[in-house]
Subunit: 325 residues, 2 copies
């Protein structure tokens, strides 16, 4: 199955969302380059609105709706960054967001959605309950459902991160580009942008060993959904959708794996050396680079740092600082 997404769709998406997102900075770190043996350009979507690239897709999807659709509102089920992205997008578009969340969702995530005036509808913490509840919202409110990744508008929105990376580095020639892969929205968007707007032909998805459905599906040539994912990279536990798999099969060079220890070590390296906060999922591409030095030695590579939403609480034990997550 070929994707129907054309370059113009991504250009239009970028024009549609440009005024509502941050053009996030690209950072480099000499110490990490020395360790990795290559030149890495990090596109910092951890500094994006809602703290993750998901703002791009959410905004593009919601701002693409017709006035009739906007009148009825939008809905999705998510306890993560997509929920916030849709709530933010709905607020900007002047429509209503019905966000279905499991009743055990962390308070901070519920508050974040409500902070963007999203209406939180709780359900039992099962996938079935989530889907049933969303179906009820769609039936009762006529709201438009926005899938977190298996949707061309979402894919085109996520593609704008790589498009900016390519534009801002037009003075040099990147050899490779890497993105983490969970549901595949960011990876398929990145692959499309690299194919349309650059000469980069080494496009890698990076995935935790404990949730390797993209790795398995890529090799088998058919979608193999993830069962019982076990990884610290909580944003990457989802399975590919058919639309994202189609793009990934077509354009991605390979799926690279990293285990949880490698992911956590890469995350520590970025926190310690770059002084920026990223979430575990986000460290998977650097972990994959460090695991596969032969693929990247001496090259110029772009990595999409996908997000920075980690719950951190500080405390005081006397004058000693304590952390908890």
């Amino acid at each position: 199955m070929q994707s129907s997404i054309a370059p113009a769709h991504i250009v239009e998406a970028h024009d549609r969302i440009r005024n509502y997102i941050h053009r996030t900075p690209i950072l480099t770190c000499q110490q990490i380059d020395d360790i990795a043996g290559c030149e890495i350009y990090f596109k910092c979507e951890n500094f994006q609105k809602v703290g993750a690239f998901k703002a791009r897709g959410g905004l593009n999807a919601v701002l693409s709706l017709s006035p009739q659709e906007l009148e009825k509102g939008v809905t999705t089920h998510s306890s993560g960054n997509h929920a916030q992205a849709i709530a933010l997008a709905a607020k900007i578009a002047g429509t209503h967001a019905y966000i279905v969340m499991p009743e055990n969702a962390p308070r901070v995530k519920v508050d974040a959605v409500r902070g963007y005036d999203g209406e939180v509808i709780f359900c039992k913490p099962t996938l079935e309950a989530r889907e049933t509840t969303v179906q009820e919202v769609i039936r009762e409110k006529n709201a438009t459902f926005i899938h977190p990744y298996n949707d061309e508008r979402i894919i085109c929105g996520q593609a704008t991160a790589a498009k900016e990376l390519i534009e801002d580095l037009s003075h040099l020639q990147l050899d490779s580009i890497l993105a983490p892969v969970g549901g595949g929205g960011l990876l398929s968007g990145t692959a499309l942008a690299a194919s349309f707007f650059s000469q980069i032909r080494e496009i890698y998805g990076c995935e935790p060993e404990g949730a390797d459905d993209a790795f398995q599906s890529f090799r088998a040539g058919v979608l193999i959904p993830q069962r019982n994912p076990q990884t610290v990279a909580d944003g990457l536990r989802t399975s590919l959708g058919e639309k994202t798999f189609a793009v990934i099969s077509d354009l991605v060079s390979d799926i690279l794996l990293a285990d949880d220890q490698e992911i956590v070590a890469a995350m520590e390296l970025i926190w310690q050396r770059m002084k920026i906060i990223i979430e575990p999922s986000c460290a998977t591409p650097l972990a994959a680079v460090l695991r596969n030095p032969h693929l990247f030695a001496g090259k110029k590579i772009g990595i999409i740092l996908s997000g920075g939403n980690v719950d951190i609480k500080f405390g005081l034990d006397g004058t000693r600082l304590t952390f908890s997550s």
Copy 2:
């Protein structure tokens, strides 16, 4: 006592160190502005070489030495950012750094100095042992001692952070500028730069309640050294020196206090909302702004974020991420 530092000294310092430091970015955060009720421009010295503004002063001091002095090497005692700054500066200047550190200094700090080819000389963990050991190095090696703050070359180097902030924001008129105060190198440099290069006349030092010697000294009009400091802001436990006190008495509007709870809350706000890593000392100015809303309501203010050196170790408890400091 008046300071003998003139604008040309700071301009020369900047020219001297410019090629060896990062021109760090200035970040803003809408969410923090909404909470604080003012517009805050954060000068991010946590992204500076060695992770702190100290690289500026260290480089200016070492690069100011004569060839004869450089031949003999430089020395200081420090277990913190100044040690790394002097080691880095010595490496760049092609001279030798003898860094006296207490034998119980954290391994990570020892390794950082050695990473810049600094020679670490251990001593007993008392101030007396540190000073005796440095005296021995000076006698035996004829090395030049570089004080961490009570030195005009250090003050002029630290002043370049505020100079850059002022230059990069020349399109708007800042009302106030704030810096944390420990030994006073950064605050006195900031006050000089603001006085020489801008119209800013509200210059505040920000200090923890548990190490309030600058607050006490400023009010008394004489140096009152800190006894038994107790604060989470470990970079601010030192006392003012006579050179830094002279500048601060002359140019600073006031010293504002914050307690450890307020400092930790401000640090959490910056980590969570801005997705950047700062050390506790660095959060003191934002804590002071939040404590004194009447002073800053509706104003444009610059804050020097002084550094980002926090030791963080991640671990895994199953697939749950754990932190320790």
